[in-house]
């Protein structure tokens, strides 16, 4: 077969980005945790100090606590948005045909999950991926942390199955390249993202977490 193993050609468009690997993902995760902490702790501290200095400032301290809660939620919301279901733009026939092709590319389990949630589960070296028409979630081994990526094919008229198939084929060609080309929207705790997901989509994240835990068990065995 006239095949050659190579990196994703789209990497040329983001040549300034370092290639994503285990170390870089861990560093990104640590940075997001530090940023979230830096946002939350001052508001918690201010709330505590206000009540300590002047108990009548209790309502103001409540507002400060609300800020501490809302900011991470907004970030998680942005992350969950990458796989938010959107109404199809292609016709019903095109959608059916595209889902048929996608079904040929994935196994029975992934096909069933896609029918229920609209997302495709794909196990990779970096973790368990959930691929949607305009974004992807990477559940890291262990299942506790999720990286949310905005990534899409540049043709809005394509049916959803084809949009997923484009991303899936790119991911299967070069997983690290795929994570490098994609734009990171959020990295944080799985539970935080799950709360912000559409109810229909949540079982996909649960399945990905289970797959990610299995990857972790396999790595430590």
């Amino acid at each position: 077969m006239a095949c050659e193993a190579e990196s994703l050609p789209e990497l040329a468009g983001v040549h300034w980005r370092p290639l994503v690997d285990e170390r870089r993902l861990s560093r990104t995760a640590a940075l997001w945790t530090a940023t979230t902490t830096a946002h939350v702790v001052p508001f918690l501290g201010a709330a505590a100090v206000m009540v300590a200095v002047q108990p009548l400032a209790f309502p103001v301290s409540l507002a400060s606590l609300a800020h501490a809660w809302v900011i991470p939620e907004l970030y998680a919301h942005r992350g969950a948005n990458v796989v938010r279901p959107k109404p199809p733009r292609a016709g019903a026939q095109a959608e059916r045909v595209s889902v048929g092709l996608l079904g040929d590319l994935i196994g029975h389990e992934a096909r069933d999950l896609h029918a229920r949630t609209g997302l495709v589960l794909e196990r990779g070296a970096l973790g368990a991926w959930l691929i949607g028409p305009a974004g992807a979630l990477l559940v890291r081994p262990g299942g506790r942390r999720v990286h949310c990526y905005c990534v899409r094919v540049n043709d809005p008229e394509l049916p959803s199955g084809d949009r997923i198939a484009h991303l899936l084929l790119a991911l299967r060609t070069d997983e690290r390249g795929f994570a490098t080309v994609a734009n990171l929207a959020f990295s944080g705790a799985r539970w935080r993202v799950r709360r912000r997901l559409d109810r229909r989509v949540r079982p996909a994240l649960d399945a990905a977490a289970e797959a990610a835990r299995a990857l972790d068990r396999r790595a430590s065995a």
Partner: protein, 74 residues
């Protein structure tokens, strides 16, 4: 029978079908493949569970060759 398909707004379109013992069909498939490359598509073949490869020439022994568009960060 091998197939060359392009993912497009119809779901997908079959561009060519060939068998290795049919030179005319092979020639037509190679021309169709190159025309898609010129349009900016990438040729992809599955190489086992969870793996795919980009191809720059039509792999005549592949069952299915899929043409895809570039992706980018949203």
């Amino acid at each position: 029978m091998s197939r060359l398909i392009r993912m497009d707004h119809t779901g997908h379109t079959t561009l060519a079908e060939w068998t290795s013992d049919d030179p005319e069909a092979v020639d037509a498939a190679v021309r169709a493949f190159r025309a898609e490359l010129d349009q900016g598509y990438f040729g992809m073949v599955s190489t086992g569970e969870g793996h795919a490869e980009q191809v720059r020439e039509l792999p005549l022994d592949a069952d299915l060759v899929i043409m895809r568009l570039p992706i980018s960060g949203g």
